[in-house]
């Protein structure tokens, strides 16, 4: 890797810009994503910024169980993000369609439509978990720019109080966790 590439990797890891897309979510995950950028959690110290246009973004954050109306928009926006890019699925909804499983107006889960790099579980995940997921995605982004090899999706560990069983995080078509649950 020459110096230029190393510099690019470093800067990609240090300033991931996000584009947030709502694929039919209940707002819970969206609010937690915004909360993670505000003073208490302060994701901006990692160089994270929420961008208004997918063309400026490196990381696509998708919430919600992917409704029929959102599928085409998600594909279009995914195509508009300039490479190298990473996709973070925030919440249980894009991973498994959560409590809305079996709904006829859904076209989820998300990885049927676009490749997902990081799954952040939780309904909704806590802001700390979202920041952890975005940081992981930034690492993947840098790696991807350097190596151009496919990277397997990562399922982040659960952060915060244990699941009370009300969500559908144990649904069979959930991707297998690659990390130990704490």
């Amino acid at each position: 890797m020459n110096l230029w590439n190393r510099l690019m990797c470093y800067s990609r890891r240090r300033s991931p810009w996000l584009f947030h897309m709502n694929g039919g979510s209940c707002n819970g995950c969206d609010i937690e994503l915004i909360a993670s950028l505000t003073p208490r959690y302060d994701a901006e110290q990692l160089g994270v910024r929420l961008e208004g246009s997918p063309r400026h973004a490196d990381i696509l954050c998708i919430t919600g169980p992917v409704t029929h109306n959102a599928v085409n928009a998600i594909k279009t926006v995914y195509g508009q993000v300039c490479g190298p890019k990473a996709v973070v699925a925030i919440g249980s909804c894009p991973a498994t369609t959560n409590v809305f499983i079996d709904s006829r107006t859904l076209d989820g889960p998300l990885n049927r439509h676009i490749p997902v790099d990081v799954f952040v579980p939780g309904c909704p995940p806590r802001p700390d978990a979202i920041i952890l997921g975005v940081a992981k995605a930034a690492e993947i982004l840098a790696e991807r720019a350097a190596k151009k090899i496919p990277i397997d999706p990562v399922v982040m560990p659960l952060v915060g109080p244990p699941c009370n069983g009300a969500c559908a995080c144990s649904t069979p078509n959930a991707p297998k966790s690659t990390e130990e649950q704490p």
């Binding site: 897309m21 709502n22 039919g24 979510s25 209940c26 707002n27 819970g28 995950c29 969206d30 609010i31 937690e32 915004i34 909360a35 505000t38 003073p39 208490r40 208004g52 246009s53 919600g64 169980p65 409704t67 029929h68 109306n69 959102a70 928009a73 926006v77 959560n98 409590v99 809305f100 079996d102 709904s103 006829r104 107006t105 859904l106 309904c123 909704p124 806590r126 109080p161 009370n164 009300a166 969500c167």
Partner: protein
């Protein structure tokens, strides 16, 4: 010559996907069309295939901002069908959680409105304050968004030490009075940006049938907590703030004053909380056939649930939801007609729309 500007469905000024088609003459908006349905998850249909325990978890996820209100309304309707009455302590806990939710929703709205005004510092201040409300909610329920507090015949978790929560609420109130309220009520930036735009006259408000803070900002003194008290609201003393102007600033003032009223209700509920059980227990739940309706004042206005049950069934045969945004939404058209194009993001946000509730 008029031209059309489509805004959305995925637009940085919009929190949720929906589409606003603005017909403009120069810089002035002459008409607007609203397209919704991007969040349609078919929840009402799904509810018919869930039993009475699962349906509560499902309905909690209609909206992430007013999640408690949805389960509260659903549980009240199901309590009518099962003939259970929650014990007094449960009623008080319901009031506490509902008011905390109103607080966080209003502060969140204030933050988003500040961002649309271009007042980024205020946005950050509001969200910092909101984290304090979330701390209290987390201390009570263990969760930040979906609290799962309500069940048929009571609540799931007790508030062990109301006075400790009261101390947190009092500190919160002091900070609200010190930072957020003065900026919204007296700051020149907010006044110049909001006064006189997006006017919804009293007559139009009546004919659109708007509810909640939008109605109260147009001079309609309606509030279900006062008009048809549920839970323990009949024992609380509070005012219903009403403003006559009907513009964005009036909506801002109504919400700022409601934050103060919520703190007042919280203080009363936490000091007067009676001892006793928090739910009617796990007695066998038997539904009688029929339809029950329940109405609750959510942060955005009136939510109504109508739940139907068939004889000896575990699943509801119909759950119908009417959300406040559904009735407030048509009023956007009357607010933006004649407004400047640059003001429309703020005007459409001023009704505090929640399209994930409306689409379901």
């Amino acid at each position: 010559m008029s031209y059309k500007i489509p805004m959305g469905p995925y637009h940085p000024a919009l929190e949720e996907p929906y589409k606003l088609d603005l017909i403009c003459e120069g810089e002035t908006v002459s008409d607007a069309k609203l397209h919704i349905g991007f969040n349609f998850r078919g929840i009402e249909h799904l509810a018919e295939s869930r039993n009475y325990i699962q349906v509560i978890a499902l309905m909690e996820r209609v909206c992430g901002i007013c999640s408690n209100i949805h389960t509260l309304t659903l549980c009240q309707a199901m309590e009518q069908l099962t003939g259970q009455t929650p014990p007094p302590r449960a009623q008080y806990i319901r009031v506490v959680v509902a008011e905390l939710e109103r607080l966080h929703s209003h502060v969140l709205w204030a933050g988003i409105a500040a961002k649309l005004m271009g007042f980024k510092t205020m946005f950050m201040t509001c969200f910092e304050l909101r984290e304090k409300v979330m701390d209290i909610l987390q201390a009570i329920s263990g969760n930040r968004v979906n609290y799962s507090m309500n069940r048929i015949g009571g609540v799931n978790r007790d508030i062990d030490d109301p006075l400790a929560v009261l101390a947190m609420v009092e500190q919160l109130e002091r900070e609200m009075v010190r930072t957020v309220i003065p900026i919204f009520t007296t700051s020149t930036t907010a006044r110049l940006r909001c006064a006189g735009i997006g006017v919804l006259s009293n007559r139009k408000a009546v004919s659109c049938g708007v509810v909640g803070p939008t109605a109260r900002a147009s001079g309609l003194p309606q509030d279900l907590r006062r008009a048809a008290p549920y839970a323990a609201y009949s024992e609380m003393e509070f005012d219903v703030p009403v403003q006559q102007d009907g513009d964005v600033r009036a909506r801002l003032l109504v919400r700022a004053l409601e934050i103060m009223e919520s703190c007042k209700i919280l203080r009363q509920a936490l000091t007067k909380m009676p001892p006793g059980e928090i739910s009617t227990g796990d007695a066998k739940i038997a539904f009688s056939a029929g339809t029950a309706t329940s109405r609750v004042e959510a942060p955005r206005g009136e939510v109504m649930y109508s739940v139907s049950w068939k004889e000896s069934s575990r699943n509801p045969s119909r759950v119908h939801v009417r959300t406040p945004t559904f009735v407030n939404m048509p009023a956007i058209r009357w607010m933006v007609i004649g407004a400047r194009l640059a003001d429309t993001p703020l005007i459409q946000a001023s009704i505090d729309p929640c399209y994930s509730c409306t689409d379901r």
